[in-house]
Symmetry: none
Subunit: 126 residues, 10 copies
């Protein structure tokens, strides 16, 4: 079961805005329809809130453990993507955030899902 309670944060270190990108290349969950495992790449991109507004950044090892908590979860691609967006938005409340998932394929079809939190600038949407 996805465990957002695993996510830890630390205070955004500086007031000036900066862009963070994390790419998890070994994400796996389970297809709720067939019970077979799914494999994908999760890209997370965001500008954290500044510390004066209580902004935080997600800590990387906790992010890894959170992603691992999907390992045996039966869940659709679309739900994975939005669930990650919601859990991370809730714990970090960033200025904006993009969650993109690229799935390596099942039955000859590969998929990409993009979910956004607030307004992601055009140049960071790819």
């Amino acid at each position: 079961m996805p465990k957002p309670e695993l996510l830890e944060t630390f205070p955004t270190p500086v007031e000036a805005p900066f862009v963070v990108e994390h790419v998890a290349e070994e994400f796996t969950s389970v297809c709720p329809k067939t019970g077979h495992p799914d494999f994908g790449v999760v890209t997370l991109r965001f500008v954290p809130r500044p510390p004066s507004k209580g902004g935080t950044c997600v800590e990387l090892k906790s992010l890894k453990l959170y992603f691992q908590s999907f390992r045996n979860e039966g869940i659709f691609y679309e739900a994975v993507t939005n669930r990650i967006r919601d859990d991370l938005a809730a714990c970090m409340n960033p200025e904006w955030m993009l969650v993109k998932t690229d799935w390596t394929g099942r039955g000859g079809i590969r998929s990409t899902i993009r979910a956004m939190h607030r307004t992601v600038p055009e140049r960071w949407q790819d």
Copy 2:
């Protein structure tokens, strides 16, 4: 411990503006959470102040030694990136500056952080 006092500068050689890019491909520090080493590439891009305004450029060997001073420092990716931005902005006071760090991955997740000083023109933000 990062040692900004290692940074040396020399006067910007000419009045006309020019763009400088330094890419350090062998940066390493330590993860404050796990104690394991982190490896990354640091890209520095800036336009120095002109000499008539007391502008300076960072000297390359001193920059290398400054980067080496992070070797045994326990520090988050985000803090490394902003610390470098702050230290270099303080010693050079450039017209604008981008600091980008690309980390080779830990636990299957690779990361990129971008921090900026003043307004970095769109075409130099990549």
Copy 3:
């Protein structure tokens, strides 16, 4: 010692504007700090003045000899780049000119410097 007096020019052959690009792949000078040799690629891009305004183009063999005159000169990357820009602007007085230097790396850091003369159109700045 850089010898701009080696530079020879010939009259711009036609009135219509045209764009010239010379790429010298075997440039070498010496680091003034460490005494070790530096190696780089110098890209020169310009539109010459038309002959009706006394415009000239730099002759290629003389350009090679001029570049060779840096061989044993102790000089920073930034100064090399601006010096070439100044020497060539003085001898050719082009409509505009870009001088870009790409250095193969010293102590794990590789660098790129761009200097411009007059307004270089955006599409020729790369």
Copy 4:
């Protein structure tokens, strides 16, 4: 000696505009300074005049022979490029034309020259 009299044309076959590109990969002439041979690639790009305005297109075998007439000519890169532009503009009078020459290098320097006839649309200038 370049022989523009070798160039033959045929009437533009249709009224609607179209873009023509010819790339000659085995162009050679002689350096007027050193007497050594130069080797390059000549790219010709143009929109011919429509037949209602007496427009013509250059015939390909005659173009090859014309290019071969430079084989033993001592002539600078810049002059080659502009000479081809002028000769072809004179015989075809196209709507617009780009002549680009890429030279394989002499003394470690490789060069590219672009000459234009009338206004070449931005997207066709590369």
Copy 5:
């Protein structure tokens, strides 16, 4: 827990020898030391026994399910490789077989393990 009982076979279709190669690109198990997931590629190469000797081939969907049964198993790379070799040798009894596993890396170290059953010809060992 690895479930060799999931493996199904069908009789080798012909008497003449032939070489089979299956490459499973999405294998995952768990590190028994750290509890973190491992990701790898499993290559299986063999010549089946002929039907006159009771030879069989592994059925592909059952192979996939067998590989999936490692998903939550804490097991070393070396043991995975040898376990697959043993389970498949037991169910198929092939003329020869190579099992190769390529692991994508953990803590900056990537690994390859090769295990063989009977004598694998030199040219099939890579």
Copy 6:
């Protein structure tokens, strides 16, 4: 149903031996277990018998139609490969022949099967 009766041949045109290779990149059949389509590449390599021994070569259009006759057939990879080997050996009786099939993957597993007729020289087995 595979229809070997579709295969047509023509007499080997000359007495001297020669090597023929046909690669069919768009082969498809059906998995007998799951009912899903399989996609693969079939490589056929052989030396035909000389005409003095009644040798023949398979005609290419008939080969295409024969391959198409597998389209709705439920059949394992191994059986496809050996069936093609047997059907072609029966209709051509070549000096030697290799049939190789490369399957693009099903459930994350891709496969290659090689079947031979008589002794295929080592250098032609890849």
Copy 7:
């Protein structure tokens, strides 16, 4: 109709053996079954007889015209390959010769045919 009478030769220029390779990338003939055009690459490799034995080499322009004579000929791949081998062996009588044809595909199948004259050394058979 293939016209071997178009082939011209010139005396082998020296006594010492040497290896010649000609690759014709724009060969075309017609499928005798379907009437559709075939496109292929013809590779010719040989050691000519020495002049003391009356050896000759095929002249390149005549070879081109000979290849062009297949343009409207309905002829199988295998027959093309052997016909070229026979015609060239007859006109040059080389020490050895390889003729290889690579066909770009018809109905999703691409083919390669190799024919030899006398004993082609192993290293020249590819």
Copy 8:
């Protein structure tokens, strides 16, 4: 200081021989001459002893920690390579072992060192 006492092993899981390869892409130590950090890739390849002879395999996390213990050690490339060979041979006593180090370059020179334990088969020496 290199700490071979960090190395842990587990019993070789099966009697049959198998080949293990570990590639550590983020190795770093310090040059004893200049004090500057060195960066390299360490490749370890071996066949473990069988369990009947008390054979063991190195455990991967302990290997990572052992490699990290070189981080601040001043030591030549050649000594690093041989030290790793000796420490691992002492703790595992494998049938044979290759240790290869590839260093990314210092002062424009990149290096590769190969050390072996017992007789490494030719095909595993690269």
Copy 9:
């Protein structure tokens, strides 16, 4: 006209054998049949005689001028290759020598010619 008298040599600098390779990428001559220019790459590979036997090496600038002397010569590919072999063998008398010419194509046919002097070891013939 090819001018072997342009070739200059210098004494082989040491007694121990060594292998020399020169690759001239801008060779041009003229087709004796059509009068059109030919373009090719000339590769020269040899072991010079030792100085104790009066051995010499060809000087590089003189080699360039010698190659340029073919510029307006009407001569077949085969004759160029053998002529270069003969001229260089006469002036250097090497232990062995390979001359390979790769021609970029005429009428859709590209060619490669190899000529040898004495016995060229197998591994140097490519």
Copy 10:
């Protein structure tokens, strides 16, 4: 002037043989004929003598300084290669050694020279 006295060595660290390779990518000297700079890559490959026979390895920084001492030396490619071989053989007396130089080209000709000390095994000669 080449300064072999710059070369420093350290005792071979272990008795067991190992293979060392150093690749210097920024070598430059001067052509004694034209006075123009030459640029090349120097590859050094050797097995050092064991310490029981007084064996030593060349120290890397001293090797760099030794290579830099050729910077303004007028010397042929062949002499550079053999000089390096002789100087390094004299200071290290290795079991065997290969020195290979790859030159980037002058007047359209690029060159490679290989010199050996004692018997270099075939597989290390490339």
